[in-house]
Amino acid sequence: MEYIYAALLLHSAKKEINEENLKAVLEAAGVEVDEARVKALVSALEGIDIDEAISKAAFAPVAAAPQPA
């Protein structure tokens, strides 16, 4: 999951999620970086809207009282 947390960190810091940034963050956390996984994540992100993905979380603060019919 550290790759995902690193991506979320960059995302919330409004930074581009590319190989270089991901590697920098992971190395700063002392992670032995697997280049292939970094490449795979960056390429996968091209088809993913992160904000949309995290809104599916079980209890996004926005999901409050049930919406009226």
């Binding site: 995902i4 979320l8 292939a36 996984r37 390429s43 996968a44 995290i54 079980a58 209890f59």
Partner: protein
């Protein structure tokens, strides 16, 4: 061209030289197997990849030779050079290339005496075949057939060949008669080299949905952590307020504290408790109001 002992023929040296140039001029190269790919399908694949990637079919030994003089992990590609291989050179992102290569695979029939990689099941139901000699073909392939309202029908679902078994010729014929193409044939990726990194299919096949759910899970965990240690951020402020409100309500109600705001709930709770207890009692212990 006379084969001068000791020095390889000119065209081989040229091919190796050309290969080396190709490796150097393309950051991404895939090693794929094209076993079982008929030549017409190969033509279609070349056309589809034109402008995106270049397919080169070269004997493995020549490729190995070309790899020798290259550093930067190219040597590790050797272990993927076996059986019928082709090289696919491109500047594309390796994951996009992988998807493209997967799309070259087409449903194909099983050949006689080939070892089937999959279980092949013939479903119960109608077939496109008219009654006649063809029926015998199906019968001796072990497929139970019958004629219903003038049409040849498979009477029940049957597995005609198991994964790993050799495909008997009569079974292959029966399947092709039925138009069943149980396997996919095309350029099967073994490895893709990308700027010094070797990417194997387990990494190349990206499950976007799985990654999306991992983001949702990571976000939920971050939210949980933030809220459970009362760490205030824009996202957690409202939840923390709601949690504190619930804490106060729960305390007041569960302890029956004399607090006006939740008195209705406390009374309702006490009443519910009385009802629950009453429901366990025999008629004799109840008054008429309760019985209703």
């Amino acid at each position: 061209m006379a084969a001068v002992r000791g020095s390889p023929p000119k065209w081989k040296v040229q091919t190796v030289e050309e290969l080396r140039k190709m490796f150097k001029s393309h950051p991404v190269v895939a090693i794929v197997s094209f076993r079982g790919v008929p030549s017409n399908q190969m033509q279609r694949i070349r056309r589809e990849l034109r402008g995106k990637a270049l397919i080169k079919v070269v004997k493995n030994t020549l490729v190995e030779k070309a790899l020798e003089e290259l550093e930067d992990n190219y040597k590790k590609l050797e272990e993927f050079l076996y059986d019928q291989t082709a090289l696919v050179f491109t500047d594309m992102n390796p994951f996009k290339l992988y998807k493209l290569l997967e799309e070259t695979k087409e449903p194909s029939p099983l050949k006689p005496n080939q070892i089937s990689p999959v279980d092949v099941v013939v479903e119960k139901g109608p077939t496109p075949i008219p009654p006649g000699p063809m029926m015998a073909e199906l019968q001796n392939a072990g497929i139970p057939v019958a004629i219903e309202r003038g049409k040849v029908v498979v009477r029940e679902t049957v597995t005609v060949v198991k994964a790993g078994e050799v495909v008997k010729p009569e079974v292959a014929r029966a399947l092709s008669v039925l138009g069943i193409k149980p396997i996919k044939i095309g350029l099967d990726t073994r490895v893709i080299y990308d700027n010094g990194i070797l990417l194997t299919p387990d990494i190349l096949a990206i499950d976007v949905e799985k990654i999306k759910s991992e983001f949702a899970e990571a976000y939920q965990k971050a939210l949980n952590l933030a809220v459970n240690c009362a760490y205030v951020t824009e996202e957690t402020a409202e939840i923390l307020i709601m949690k504190a409100v619930m804490d106060a309500r729960n305390l007041a109600i569960n302890a029956g504290l004399p607090v006006k705001e939740v008195m209705p709930e406390i009374l309702a709770k006490a009443h519910m408790e009385a009802l629950a207890l009453a429901s366990l009692l025999p008629e004799s212990a109840l008054d008429d109001e309760l019985k209703s």
